[in-house]
Structure formats: structure tokens, C-alpha cells
């Protein structure tokens, strides 16, 4: 990827919110990149301690390459793992001395192998646990419990789960009734009109609308400035103070001042 840095583009992507962070994407039935790796490792049909991490990295990258874009767009975890494995691969293939503060390729591979063995062990234990004789499925308690004692002592039947769930419900209810409206910090159309109007003298010839955006903005602020300036340009055009043209859809928007151009 070339340049660009941390400034997201204004076009290309929608203005929608990013996907929720905890969304777990099921790629072909896998539960996360580690699960996919473990499954690929099993296909090597060797003991996990003698696994070829290099081969595994290649298999993972090949698997990811086969997925279509629509699946990948939402699966950031898988892509980050792919990037990490590509880096690991380069480290393993070109074993130069890493800087002091970075692990060597062999260390990285060992850490990954450990992760896989630990996950496999936990998965096996989960299976063993689920297969144990379970209460009220395989094993039963006294069917006719008896109670003795004349004096009664009440035992309140309420669990921590019930208590917390109940508080969760109250908190949700409360938050639904209180609507806080925060002051907008996005770029407004009014501000953009005022700004463009002041700059009209600086646009004697065709210039890209984007080059007139305030330089210090990022992220949503930048996007809001872009849309506000676009609307502002249309308004100034309507007032006959600005001309706009665009060569094709999604191409840059050119504009120039009509000040002093009146026939």
C-alpha cells in the first residue's frame, strides 16, 4: 500500500459505522484464525510438536487467498493473522539477526506452536468434560428428599447471576429513558459556506475541492468536512458565485470562482 498514512479516504467506502468489534465471523465454519490454523495443522497429520510452522503459514495464506473479498472484508482477525504469518514466513526464510527487542523467527514459530498445542489440549479437555457422567443425565440424586427440623430457617433462593441480570435490566431500562443529545463536533454546512466564501478569491482557476479542506482534520471530521464543503459548493454555485465540474463519476470535483467573471 502506498502512502496515505492514517487519513482514510473520503470516497470508496460508505459512511456507515464499522462492524461491531466483537462480531465473530464464521469463515467456512471456523471460529477465529487460531481455530483455522489448528485445523490446517491437523491436516499435516503429524504430532503438533513436530509441526512445520513454515508449511502451516503457507497453507493459511493459501486458504485466505482463496476466500472471496466479501468474506474477508468483515474478518479483520483473519487478515491480521495472515499479515503476522507472512511476516513470520519472511523471518524464517531470511534468518538475519533481529533487532534486540524483537523475537527471532524461531521464537515466533515456537510461540505459535505453543498456542496451537494449548488450544488443542483445552479442546480435548472440553470434550472429556462433556463426556463425563453428568448429573441428571447419567447420575441421579435422591429422588425423594426429606426435610426434618421443626424450626425453619429460610434460605433465600437467589443467585449472583439473577442479581446481576436484574441490575443489567434496570441499567438498560434507565439508559433507554434518558436520551442525551451531545453537541455536534462535526463540520457544518454553514461553516463550510462561510469558509469557501472567504476563500473565493483564492480560486481563480479550476482546483480540486479536496485541496480546500482544512488540513488538520482526520476520520469522521474529515468526512464531515468533505460533505459539508460539497454542499457548500453547490450552494455557492446556485448563488452564481462558483462553477463546478466533474469529468466522471467518482472523479475529483473541480471548482473555480465566478467572482469578476460575470458577463
Amino acid at each position: 500500500m502506498e502512502g496515505g498514512g492514517d487519513q482514510p479516504s473520503l470516497f470508496g467506502d460508505s459512511f456507515e459505522d464499522p462492524p461491531p468489534r466483537r462480531l465473530v465471523i464464521d469463515i467456512a465454519g471456523f471460529e477465529g484464525p487460531l481455530d483455522l490454523l489448528l485445523s490446517l495443522a491437523r491436516d499435516q497429520k503429524v504430532d503438533l510438536s513436530r509441526l512445520s510452522i513454515l508449511e502451516l503459514a503457507e497453507q493459511y495464506l493459501a486458504f485466505i487467498a482463496r476466500l472471496d473479498r466479501s468474506q474477508l472484508e468483515e474478518a479483520a482477525d483473519y487478515l491480521v493473522m495472515a499479515a503476522w504469518l507472512a511476516y513470520l514466513k519472511s523471518r524464517l526464510l531470511l534468518p538475519q539477526n533481529p533487532p534486540d527487542d524483537e523475537p527471532s523467527g524461531a521464537e515466533m514459530a515456537a510461540a505459535l506452536a505453543f498456542q496451537l498445542r494449548r488450544l488443542e489440549a483445552m479442546r480435548a479437555l472440553g470434550g472429556q468434560l462433556a463426556a463425563r457422567p453428568r448429573l441428571y443425565r447419567d447420575v441421579w440424586s435422591r429422588g425423594a428428599p426429606e426435610e426434618f427440623g421443626v424450626a425453619e430457617r429460610p434460605v433465600w433462593d437467589v443467585s449472583l447471576f439473577t442479581l446481576l441480570k436484574s441490575y443489567g435490566a434496570i441499567a438498560a431500562r434507565r439508559s433507554a429513558t434518558a436520551l442525551d443529545i451531545e453537541i455536534s463536533d462535526l463540520y457544518s454546512v454553514d461553516a463550510a459556506i462561510a469558509r469557501l466564501r472567504a476563500m473565493l478569491g483564492d480560486i481563480p482557476d479550476w482546483a480540486d475541492l479536496q485541496s480546500f479542506l482544512p488540513a488538520e482534520l482526520h476520520g469522521l471530521h474529515l468526512r464531515s468536512a468533505m460533505s459539508a464543503h460539497f454542499v457548500a459548493a453547490l450552494e455557492l454555485c446556485r448563488q452564481g458565485r462558483l462553477e463546478i465540474h466533474q469529468e466522471a463519476a467518482f472523479a475529483p470535483l473541480w471548482m473555480r470562482s465566478r467572482e469578476g467573471r460575470d458577463e
Binding site: G4, L10, E152, K165, L186
Partner: protein, 200 residues
């Protein structure tokens, strides 16, 4: 001990009702007789803390009648359910303590009925502690050590915060209702795939 004896012992133990002989016989493999098994189990349990008794044509385990005295001497635990209002009130006190009755009502959005605080007080989970320095000087409520004990908490600090409740799936905040803002939080800035396309 034979397999037949083990099986009949387990069946009688787990049953909620006395079991008729025909039902018991149904558990045994063909050709295994029930009577010798019941005889040997009765003989075995005679004189123990639990005895095998026959009620008409049915059989059941019961605690030995002579133990009634020593067993009665202990308090009997009776399980009781707490009302929803009481649970909610307890949760509010736990999270907002010290707080007054009016504050609880404000948070729940309904008036507190007379018995609700009483039940929690009798259970030993809340107690009044001081008064609020506002007109009327209302009592302030707090939770007790017994509250922590019952819920297995090592301290009030163990109670999960709202973010943690949410993470554990115990708090469902419907987005869009809680606040309205068209502000750009830096960390939430949408990540754009087309970074490279940006003209500079």
C-alpha cells in the same frame, strides 16, 4: 453385591415415589428374580440410618424412624423465593449504596411497597447506616457482610461494572436509544480500505 442389587438400590434411591414391584422388575434382565434382591437389600439396610420399607405393593427408602429426634433438633432450611421487586431493590442498593428509599424508587421508576425493604432487612442483607443530609434526613441503606457471603463476593469491588455486565451478556444496551451524538470519536473512526486511493 450382585448387579441386580446395585440396580434396584439405585432405582429406589433416585425415585421420587415408592415403586411397585412390577416397575422394579422391569429394570431387571429376564430371568433375574426381584424378591431375593428386595430381601437382601432390606436385610442389608436394617439397622442403618436409611431403611428399605414396603408400603402395600411398593418399595421405598426412608430415613430410620428412630433418628427423627436427633434430626428434628436441627433447623430446617426452607427455600424461599425473592420477589422481582426485592431482587431489583437489592441490586440497586448494592450498586448505588449508600442510597435512600427515594433514590431507589427513582431508579426503579416505581414506588417501593412497604414490605420490600423489610424482606431484605430480615434476610440480613441490608441495613440502615446514617442519614442523608437533605431535608427530612432520610435513612441511607447499605448492604451487609451477609450479603457478600450469600453471593460469594469477596467485597463490593467484585461486582461487575456496567461495561463488564455488558461484556458478560448481562446487560443489553440497545444502541441508538441511550444517546444521540454526531460526534466523531477518534477510536471509532471507520477504517477505510481504500486508503491508497486518496489524492493528496
Amino acid at each position: 453385591m450382585t448387579e441386580g442389587e446395585r440396580l434396584i438400590e439405585a432405582v429406589l434411591f433416585a425415585s421420587a415415589e415408592p415403586l411397585p414391584q412390577e416397575v422394579l422388575a422391569g429394570y431387571l434382565p429376564d430371568g433375574v428374580a426381584l424378591e431375593p434382591i428386595l430381601d437382601s437389600l432390606s436385610a442389608f439396610y436394617a439397622g442403618r440410618g436409611v431403611v428399605l420399607v414396603r408400603r402395600g405393593g411398593s418399595w421405598a427408602f426412608r430415613t430410620a424412624p428412630d433418628l427423627a429426634g436427633p434430626l428434628e433438633a436441627q433447623e430446617r432450611m426452607v427455600s424461599r423465593k425473592l420477589s422481582r421487586a426485592a431482587i431489583e431493590t437489592l441490586a440497586i442498593i448494592a450498586y448505588h449504596q449508600p442510597c435512600t428509599r427515594a433514590e431507589i424508587e427513582d431508579i426503579r421508576g416505581v414506588a417501593l411497597s412497604k414490605g420490600t425493604l423489610d424482606v431484605l432487612f430480615e434476610a440480613g442483607w441490608i441495613r440502615p447506616r446514617g442519614r442523608k443530609q437533605t431535608p427530612g434526613r432520610p435513612m441511607l441503606w447499605r448492604t451487609t457482610e451477609a450479603f457478600l457471603d450469600h453471593f460469594g463476593l469477596s467485597g463490593l469491588d467484585d461486582l461487575p461494572g456496567t461495561a463488564e455486565l455488558k461484556a458478560a451478556g448481562l446487560l443489553d444496551l440497545k444502541p441508538g436509544f441511550s444517546s444521540y451524538a454526531d460526534r466523531a470519536g477518534e477510536e471509532d473512526a471507520p477504517v477505510d480500505v481504500d486508503d491508497a486511493d486518496r489524492k493528496s
